[in-house]
């Protein structure tokens, strides 16, 4: 499973990244967490407000930081 965190280094993007890592650890699943900072790539997903979370190329949430519990449901 590939999880992408879209965002350009704002505070909430970092928060989302750590929430994602926490969720992956708690579920004990095999997943790669990537960060996407390039605006062109972010826009290609149709995302207009960062941060956003993309699981296996599917946008799950954007413009907000979902909690660890919510992220678990996306995985």
């Amino acid at each position: 499973m590939v999880i992408k965190v879209l965002g350009s280094g704002c505070a909430s993007c970092k928060k989302l990244e750590s929430n994602v890592k926490e969720a992956v650890k708690e579920l004990g699943i095999d997943a790669v967490v990537e960060k996407v900072e390039d605006f062109k790539e972010i826009a290609a997903y149709g995302v207009m407000k960062t941060p956003a979370i993309v699981v296996d190329e599917q946008v799950k949430a954007m413009g907000r930081v979902p909690s660890v519990e919510d992220i678990k449901k996306y995985l």
Partner: protein
Amino acid sequence: MHILTQMFGWLNDQLLKMTWLFELVRLLVEKVFGLSMEDRVGGSVHFFIYDTVKIFILLSVLIFAISYIQSYFPPERTKKILGGMKGIKGNILGALLGTVTPFCSCSSIPLFIGFTSAGLPLGVTFSFLISSPLVDLASFLILMSFFGIRIALAYVVVGLVLAVEGGTLIDKLNMEKYVQGYVREIKSTDVEVEEMSRRERISFAKEQVKEITQRVWMYILIGVGIGAAIHNWIPQPVIETVIGGNNPFAVILAAAVGIPMYADIFGTIPIAEALFGRGVGIGTVLSFMMAVTALSLPSMIMLGKVVKPKLLAIFTAIVSIGIIVIGYVFNAFSYLFI
């Protein structure tokens, strides 16, 4: 009817103007610190504590309520609503949606790319980009709290007019070729995300309060500090000569100082309040506030990544001139508002 007006007045005084807090801080300054309110030190200590507490209360309550509402208007939905809109109707709708769509200058790039690649006219995008930081529910309620309903309404109306006119003008100037090339190459994508649940909306609103407080608390303290200095320490003749009625260029000066500054309405309001309290023209004060919120150096740098310098310069010029014109008009007709 009379009772209703009285009730509304009382609610407005207590909830928005927070007269109870004013009295409470007065007691603190006079009884606990032993300072007189008539005194410069006492006066500025009161201004500092009262304004800081009041702004933080307004910030928490307003951002929470507004974020909850905004969670129904993500930019993606705005994009869909605006799609296919042309002409002045598109500009008006763009400006109106700008007031409810959450915005911070950090997201102006993906937003601009999203709008442009979806084929929205450039003018509609700019109407949105002007109104979004300038006018929202928070600025309306904040202005009502500090300046009363007339000025608040007038601010919202002229802010929207500026957004519509600015966008229309950019449309007329045919600036499409001044968008950075790579923006056009991005394919438009629509994403479907699950609707947020009520619980998610509440937690989103809480997160927003936390995030915005962390981002702006320092600007608020600086703003209140400057406000307190203007309120009690700068001599009246200096104010009148530099930014008051004695200086015909006061509005231009206020705009020039405000344009590069990066702060939002919460950090700007204490300065505006103090200037107004010292008799500076309402137009000058509004120009300053609009200049601070609508334009800033960081947002221009951001925008410069998606548009070419010429368009950036034209956009900045249109908004700046608009703000200055608004200032002079308000100063001329100030008797209607005060």
